[in-house]
Each structure stands twice: as structure tokens, then as C-alpha cells.
């Protein structure tokens, strides 16, 4: 049996660990709220943006933007992957990558090449090691209050590649914040938009409310007055739309990160408690045994005299 002092140091170190996990748990608990507020604050923009895009899609314009055309032959596919910067958040990132890998392999089996745009340190670390995947652009350390401007660079890299015909499809992967206990790894189509529209229809059919609120407002043929011209304005609007979608995903992922970390740290604290309890029991037993032995030795010695 281990000596008393050894067990004591083990208990001490476990207690120190518990202190850290508890602190992390409380920090995350307070950060979740802030992240959720951010998510809520950005929702009106996303909703307004979707409405405008829905209108644009209905307008009977004779201009076609590359984002609106579905290319028949797919040679290269892009993924925008949103991950966290730091670890200790349970299986959040690995769940997302695990969800993503089969999709990537499936494309690769068809002979399609894969480009990745990584947001967050973990995605950078993961995809730079992955064979057959080209890292197109990356941004890390968005902080607790991500701004759209921080994401502009990576989004532009992806969209330019699409416009130049280097990418034929663009997907967005992130963790959808359902509630504190549940975060759903999600892969959504980003470009071209008809693909998004068909996904949207599927969403509506399945009764999911994420895209609710888009409805036809006018039925007859109409078109916008474009100032200065359709190409410029539509390009601008579509750029902003993609940015808003990616920004929303980054916020969802941030809230998911804190929620996942809180849960992971809570279970770590619980485990530490259990270990401390077990170790204390062993320590007490060892102490008791030592005392008993000493007494019996004394008694034995006395009776021998």
C-alpha cells in the first residue's frame, strides 16, 4: 500500500487541478451569456439580408452573377471551416472535423480537389496536417468579440477563388449553437446560391425554422431600379450576404465554444471530486492500518516483557 505522504501529495495535486477546472468553468459560464447576446444582436441584420437576397432572387433581371449560376462540372470544392482558437472544450472541434472528413473524402473519391479556408487556430492546425487538402487562407485569434472586418480577408480569398473559377462549390462548416448542452456540427452550402436555395427549401419542408420568414411579397414580374448598374450592386449585395452568413457562423461557433468548455470543465471538476474522495478514503485507511499496526506492536512488545 502506498505511503501516507505519497497519497497526500496526490490529493493536493488533484485539488489544484480542480481549482483550475472550476475557474475555467465559471469563466466560460459568464462568457456564454455575452456570446449569446452577440448572436442575438447580429440576427436582425442576417434576417434583413436574407429578405433582400430572397427579393433579389425573385426579381426578373436579365443579369446573371457568377454566384447565381450552378456550374455543372465540379473540379474543386472549397470549405470555410470555423473552429475555436483554444482547446479544452470537449469534442467540439473534433466532432466538427469528424463530420467534415467523410464529406471531403467523398469529393476526393470523385477526383475533386479540396481547398480549405480556416478560421481559428484549431482548424489551421488540423488542415495543415491533412494530406490532399490545400489551405487557401486563414485567420486566427478573433477574440471574444469578433468583428466582420476580421473575417473580410478570408472570405474574400474564398470568394475570389470562386469568381475566378478555381472553386466550383463553397461550403461552410461550423458548430451550430442549439443550447448549452447541445452544439451541432453543421456543414452548409454557401455558393452557388441556387444550391443554398434548394437546401433552404429542404429546411422549410422539414419544418426547421432557421430560414423561416422568407416569403413571396410580390407575384408579378418586376425588377429593381439598380443604381449604378445591376452587376455592381448585385456583386456588392452578394458579397455582403456571404460575409453576414460567415460572421453569423463565427458567432454561433463562439457561443458553442464557451458552452462546450463549460460542460467539459464541469465534468472535469466532478471527476476531480470523485478522485479526491477515493484518495482520501485510501489515505484514511492507510493511516488507520499504520496506527493499528503500531498498537499491536506495542501490545506484543509489552506482553513479551
Amino acid at each position: 500500500m502506498a505511503s501516507g505522504r505519497e497519497i497526500k501529495t496526490k490529493i493536493k495535486s488533484t485539488q489544484n487541478m480542480r481549482k483550475v477546472t472550476r475557474a475555467l468553468e465559471m469563466v466560460s459560464a459568464s462568457k456564454i451569456r455575452r456570446a449569446q447576446d452577440l448572436m442575438k444582436a447580429s440576427r436582425p441584420y442576417a434576417r434583413a439580408m436574407r429578405k433582400v437576397i430572397a427579393h433579389v432572387a425573385q426579381a426578373s433581371t436579365d443579369f446573371t452573377h457568377p454566384f447565381l449560376v450552378e456550374r455543372e462540372q465540379v473540379k474543386r470544392v472549397g470549405f470555410v471551416v470555423v473552429s475555436t482558437d483554444r482547446g479544452l472544450c470537449g469534442g467540439l472541434n473534433s466532432n466538427l472535423f469528424r463530420r467534415l472528413l467523410p464529406a471531403i473524402r467523398e469529393w476526393q473519391d470523385k477526383g475533386v480537389e479540396i481547398d480549405v479556408v480556416a478560421i481559428g487556430q484549431k482548424a489551421v492546425q488540423f488542415f495543415r496536417r491533412l494530406k490532399g487538402v490545400n489551405l487557401l487562407g486563414s485567420v486566427t485569434h478573433l477574440g471574444e468579440k469578433p468583428k466582420v472586418e476580421q473575417l473580410v480577408g478570408v472570405i474574400k480569398v474564398a470568394m475570389d477563388a470562386y469568381t475566378d473559377g478555381k472553386l466550383d462549390r463553397l461550403f461552410l462548416a461550423y458548430n451550430d449553437f442549439v443550447n448549452t448542452m447541445t452544439q451541432k456540427p453543421t456543414v452548409d452550402a454557401l455558393l452557388p446560391l441556387p444550391l443554398v436555395a434548394s437546401e433552404l427549401a429542404a429546411h422549410q419542408a422539414s419544418g426547421e425554422s432557421a430560414y423561416a420568414g422568407i416569403k413571396l411579397e410580390q407575384t408579378h414580374d418586376w425588377d429593381y431600379i439598380y443604381e449604378p448598374d445591376a452587376g455592381t450592386v448585385l456583386g456588392h449585395v452578394l458579397n455582403r450576404y456571404i460575409e453576414s452568413v460567415v460572421y453569423q457562423a463565427a458567432l454561433e461557433n463562439l457561443a458553442s465554444e464557451h458552452a462546450a468548455r463549460m460542460v467539459a470543465m464541469k465534468s472535469a471538476s466532478d471527476n476531480a471530486n470523485k478522485v479526491i474522495g477515493e484518495l482520501t478514503l485510501i489515505y484514511n485507511k492507510a493511516r488507520q492500518a499504520a496506527i493499528t499496526q503500531e498498537i499491536s506492536e506495542i501490545v506484543g512488545g509489552a506482553s513479551a516483557v
Binding site: A118, L135, V157, Y224, E227, V233, V237
Partner: protein
């Protein structure tokens, strides 16, 4: 009853204004625009500046759009999607280059990361050796 038009002004980071108006004045890319209810559908970029909303009560509300944005007009709704910061093609281009550079750096540092891991392993080994020595010394003293 006077006709009104619904006005929503939002930016990516917050909701700025929402209400009913009789007139909305904004600075579009090609000049000033005055929008009254039942305006024809229109979509344009906004220059950084002010959007002035005249409410049904006659009160005027000034909303400053520091980064410019997008104005969409439907017969019953005006939507202003404000950018949260000043943007230009140059700034976007610079940001894109920075994103690419970061990715290249991450790829170039691949070997560095391995070296760091190796160095860390060696360091840990050295520390345990030192600790063992220390322990040995202590036991010898006793």
C-alpha cells in the same frame, strides 16, 4: 390616414432603427434619394453619411451610417444594411493578402512545430533527470 413605409436600419453587429416613416432621405452612390411610400423597387449602395427618417408624427430622426451600406426599397419596406466600418476595395484586398499570408506561414511553420515538440520532449527529459539527481543527492546527505 397618411401612408407610411416601414423602415429597418440594421448593421451586422446591432439593430439600429426600426419604425414607420413618411419619408426617408439617404445618400446613394449616384446622389441623394428621397423615398416615400410606394416607391418603385430599388437597390443601391449607400455612401457613408446620414439617413434621415421622417416619422409619421413629423419628427425627424438622424441615423449616421459611418461605413456606408446597402439600401433596398420595396413598395412597403425600406431596408438599410449598414456596414460596421469603412470598407474599400484596397482594404479588402489587403485583408485577403493577410489571410493568405497567415495560411502560408502556418504551412511553412509545420516543421517548426515538430521541432518545438521535440525540444519540449527533450526539456521534459532533462527536468526529470535533474529531479532524480536532486533526490539522489538528498538521500546521500542523510
Amino acid at each position: 390616414m397618411t401612408h407610411t413605409i416601414r423602415v429597418d436600419v440594421v448593421s451586422a453587429e446591432s439593430e439600429i432603427y426600426s419604425g414607420e416613416a413618411t419619408l426617408v432621405v439617404a445618400t446613394g452612390e449616384l446622389g441623394e434619394l428621397g423615398i416615400t411610400p410606394r416607391h418603385a423597387p430599388l437597390i443601391t449602395r449607400l455612401k457613408p453619411g446620414k439617413v434621415v427618417v421622417t416619422e409619421a408624427s413629423g419628427e425627424k430622426v438622424d441615423i449616421s451610417i459611418t461605413g456606408g451600406g446597402i439600401l433596398e426599397v420595396q413598395p412597403q419596406v425600406v431596408t438599410v444594411l449598414a456596414d460596421s466600418a469603412i470598407r474599400s476595395a484596397d482594404i479588402d484586398e489587403a485583408a485577403a493578402l493577410e489571410a493568405k499570408r497567415q495560411a502560408e506561414e502556418a504551412l511553412a511553420n509545420r516543421t517548426d512545430a515538430m521541432e518545438i515538440a521535440e525540444a519540449q520532449a527533450k526539456l521534459a527529459e532533462a527536468i526529470t533527470q535533474l529531479q532524480a539527481l536532486e533526490r539522489l543527492r538528498r538521500t546521500l546527505k542523510h
